[in-house]
């Protein structure tokens, strides 16, 4: 007998449909899985056999062949267990094939027949909709994530024995509740940052315009504290963005579902593939996990050079393309870069008389900051040890108030550039259409002459000035906005 079901395998951050065909024939008892399975898929034989036997189904002692189509697509992971077991039951006559038709299934089987969660449930549910499936049956633990997908029926089961419902002409499983809105409950608030007015200003500008931010200062001056509070002043995500982020997080198995913007802080020992994605088959890296959120690189100068260089393309384009022998994947990587660095290897900085780092040592330490990556960082802000009086004083302004101003500025940007696009994403042509007062133009020319700005620096200064003007509620970019932008971008002296 022959039966087939639909399931999915993950590729990058998308769920590719897989047809699972099971054929049972007379012959010596055997169980083969063909169709480019990886080790985890091949081992499904043992899990399927034990799960069926332990839940009271009959495991046919005949020649069983499971084929996974399309045959040229690599199938990875244990998520195909449930679909293989179900097709086998249908082929063996335990479940009616006409009842199963149109249902997609994904889940890992335990030996006792219970169903374990899989990665990428949301991506699979969306893919099921695109395949015009009747619905998708998933493990119970994946229910809240998958239920976020609109326009597709999701059912969750605890154990494979629940599939007997099909034999009774019913659809098995529960309808899960979508993941609740948990926005902003747990986010640290900017009011913890006391004093430090120029750092607060830099954060507000970075959040408003989506500009990359680098904080330079001695250890303990509050750089990490500030960085962790940046998501709380970013505008909330739209429902599409929430779905996108949840899909990525689900595929990567990255923690619980969240409705707020991601904040990723990889350790400085991260490799280039770990940061931007890679491996074979290519898997998403930290920058894709930080999509729509903040990528925080603490101790920027300690990162490996290849890892940092690999950030250049995604910083410009908002996505990353990984090319491998067996194909190319383009993954989303629209993150806001926030970085922190010590001023020199000992961390004290030139001004501190105790710092005896030689210029050569400092130059080596800072070499990661020079060149192409630094050119793509819009804002550099010096952070000093906070003033003791301010530390003992009142709380700073809270995130909600700052976010209010950020939202107003973003609205102005949306009017100019189209919805959801901050100034940092403006193209060269859009930058040249910015309204700039003549005094500001003049200052930019002066600066270009004395500081030897590159073409990119020139455009970036204008984008930053535009954000300052938007925060200020000004139509044209005035001279003071451009001067402010040049101060935030400053490049001289090093």
């Amino acid at each position: 007998m022959l039966a087939e079901t639909t399931s999915f395998t993950l590729e990058g951050i998308t769920a590719r449909p897989v047809r699972v065909e099971v054929d049972i024939h007379r012959g010596l008892p055997s169980f083969q899985i063909v169709g480019l399975p990886d080790a985890a898929v091949r081992e499904a034989r043992e899990r399927v056999r034990a799960a069926l036997v332990n839940t009271g189904f009959e495991f046919p002692l005949r020649r069983i062949t499971a084929n996974l189509a399309p045959a040229d697509l690599r199938k990875a992971g244990p998520g195909l267990d449930l679909a293989i077991a179900t097709a086998l039951l249908a082929a063996g006559g335990e479940l009616p094939p006409e009842q199963l038709a149109g249902w997609a299934l994904a889940g890992e089987l335990a030996l006792d027949g219970s169903v374990r969660p899989v990665r990428g449930a949301l991506a699979m549910a969306e893919s099921a909709r695109e395949q015009s499936c009747r619905g998708i049956i998933l493990p119970a633990a994946n229910g809240p994530e998958a239920a976020l997908a609109p326009g597709v029926e999701v059912r969750t089961i605890e154990s494979i024995s629940e599939l007997r419902q099909f034999a009774r002409g019913q659809v098995p499983g529960q309808k899960p509740e979508p993941a609740g809105q948990i926005r902003n409950h747990a986010l640290p608030d900017l009011r913890d940052l006391r004093g430090q007015p120029s750092l607060r200003r830099a954060i507000e500008v970075a959040a408003a315009g989506g500009h990359a931010l680098l904080m330079v200062g001695p250890p303990g001056s509050g750089k990490s504290l500030a960085a962790r509070r940046i998501p709380s002043v970013l505008p909330p995500m739209s429902s599409d963005e929430i779905l996108e982020v949840a899909r990525i997080a689900g595929v990567c198995g990255a923690g619980p579902l969240r409705a707020e913007r991601p904040f990723r802080a990889p350790h400085h020992t991260v490799s280039a593939p770990g940061l931007v994605g890679g491996g074979s088959p290519p898997r998403p890296g930290e920058i894709t996990l930080a999509h729509r959120g903040v990528l925080f690189l603490d101790e920027l100068c300690e990162f490996r050079r290849p890892a940092l260089e690999a950030l250049r393309e995604p910083l410009e384009s908002g996505e990353v393309t990984i090319s491998r022998a067996n194909g190319r994947r383009t993954l989303p990587a629209g993150f806001t870069l926030v970085a922190a660095a010590n001023p020199c290897p000992c961390g004290r900085g030139d001004e501190d008389p105790q710092c005896e780092c030689s210029a050569a040592a400092v130059a080596r330490y800072r070499s990661t900051l020079s060149g192409a990556l630094a050119d793509r960082i819009d804002i550099i802000v010096g952070v000093a040890q906070p003033d003791p009086e301010a530390m003992a004083g009142e709380d700073g302004e809270c995130s909600a108030a700052v976010r209010e101003r950020v939202l107003i500025a973003r609205e102005r940007m949306s009017e100019r550039l189209g919805s959801g696009r901050p100034n940092a994403a403006a193209t060269r042509a859009e930058v040249s259409r910015f309204e700039v007062e003549p005094e500001a133009r003049h200052l930019l020319i002066e600066a270009a002459r004395s500081q030897k700005l590159s073409g990119r620096s020139h455009d970036r200064a204008l984008r930053l000035a535009r954000t300052l003007a938007d925060l200020d509620g000004s139509g044209p970019v005035r001279e003071e906005h451009l001067a402010g932008a040049l101060q935030l971008r400053r490049r001289s002296g090093s």
Binding site: E356, L468, S494
Partner: protein
């Protein structure tokens, strides 16, 4: 032709042979100087050809001297021309003033670069600035500032092309005026190699000289020997950053011995890299805080502050900000309240001041005053 001088200004054959002899004896001198204090070398070089050869290579002295005497003048001049070098000696016109009277000074110079004739490097028209190779950010900044201020004051800035302070001095000077690098090896061999680009930039607007023939590698003993030339060339030698036992202090000592002035840039009393310069000041060297101090010290020689040292007119808030920076505030968060302005206005003002050249800013966001004097102050 290849030199700034007329053919008649070229070094005489005797002096050229002397230069070649020193290069030939260089390995022997190195052996003689090994395990002895470096400051012995200049004294060795005072010796006549015969005495020098006998002192460092007693067994081969005659052979080497004969070989040297046989060197053909045409061949020597051809070597110079092939290396695009010129020469001058104490017997001809066009020898730098500072080297004419010194007992230690070499009798022959070989140089590259045609930006100006080397005889214009007079004692009062030049200043030597030296310092440690292992420099701090502070030292490099001051060195660069001094280089650019002194060059724009019309002085020829003399230094040694070494890593650290020397390089920063040259960098500051090539942007604004004339500079001269004295090398320990041949003038056609940029040393250290990392400064090859700086070397080429210096050749465009300045000079590179050495007492060695072209192609000579730098020997260890050549550095103190080079230092004595730098010390002798100018009326004043300024040390920017030197630890307690630094070669730059030897240069300062040589300058003092040759009757030249010595100046030093102070550093924090706790900082090791400034211990040597602080000690120089304590023992009577001139205190140098910027180009103005040097120019004033040399003012008796008819120098005046050039116009370039004044920046453009300042607005009201920029004036307040500049006062705050001069008052010791370096970060925006300190400057803004001291100037009585908001952070945004102070930041914008700082950007204008930086573009005008009044302040510069470190990576850590610390603003410092440059040597540029405010107009009308």
């Amino acid at each position: 032709m290849s030199g700034p001088n007329d053919d008649s200004n070229e070094a005489c054959p005797v002096c050229l042979r002397r230069s070649w002899l020193i290069a030939r004896l260089a390995p022997f001198i190195q052996v003689a100087c090994d395990n002895r204090a470096g400051r012995r070398t200049p004294e060795l070089l005072r010796l006549s050809d015969q005495d020098l050869a006998a002192a460092v290579a007693p067994r081969r002295a005659d052979e080497l001297l004969t070989e040297n005497q046989r060197l053909d003048e045409g061949h020597l001049r051809g070597t110079l021309e092939a290396a695009d070098c010129w020469s001058c000696c104490v017997h001809g016109a066009g020898f730098p003033e500072g080297l004419e009277d010194g007992a230690d000074a070499p009798c022959c110079l070989i140089g590259r670069g045609n930006a100006f004739p080397v005889e214009e490097v007079t004692m009062s028209g030049s200043v030597t600035v030296v310092g440690a190779r292992r420099a701090t950010g502070y030292g490099l900044e001051v060195a660069r500032m001094l280089g650019s201020e002194l060059a724009s004051a019309g002085l020829v800035v003399v230094s040694g092309l070494a890593l650290g302070i020397d390089g920063a001095v040259h960098r500051g000077a090539v942007e604004r005026g004339r500079t001269l690098a004295v090398l320990a090896g041949g003038a056609d061999r940029p040393y250290p190699a990392t400064h090859a680009r700086l070397y080429r930039r210096i050749l465009e607007s300045g000079l590179v000289i050495s007492e060695m023939p072209p192609g000579t590698r730098p020997w260890r003993w050549g550095f103190p020997a080079r230092n004595r030339i730098m010390a002798a060339l100018s009326r004043m030698t300024v040390v920017v950053e030197a630890a307690r036992r630094s070669g730059s202090l030897i240069t300062a000592e040589m300058a003092a011995d040759a009757g030249r002035e010595v100046g030093a840039v102070p550093g924090p009393v706790t900082a090791g890299p400034s211990a040597g310069t602080n000690e120089l000041i304590a023992s009577g060297a001139a205190l140098v805080r910027g180009g103005v101090d040097v120019v004033e010290r040399l003012a008796g020689m008819g120098l005046s502050l050039p116009e370039q040292l004044f920046g453009p007119e300042l607005g009201e808030s920029e004036r307040l900000i500049l006062d705050a920076v001069e008052g010791g505030h370096s970060l925006v968060d300190g400057i803004a309240p001291a100037a009585g302005l908001g952070v945004a206005r102070a930041a914008a003002g700082l950007a204008r001041l930086e573009i005008a050249g009044y302040v510069n800013c470190s990576l850590a966001g610390e603003y410092r005053r440059t040597g540029l004097a405010a107009a009308g102050s």
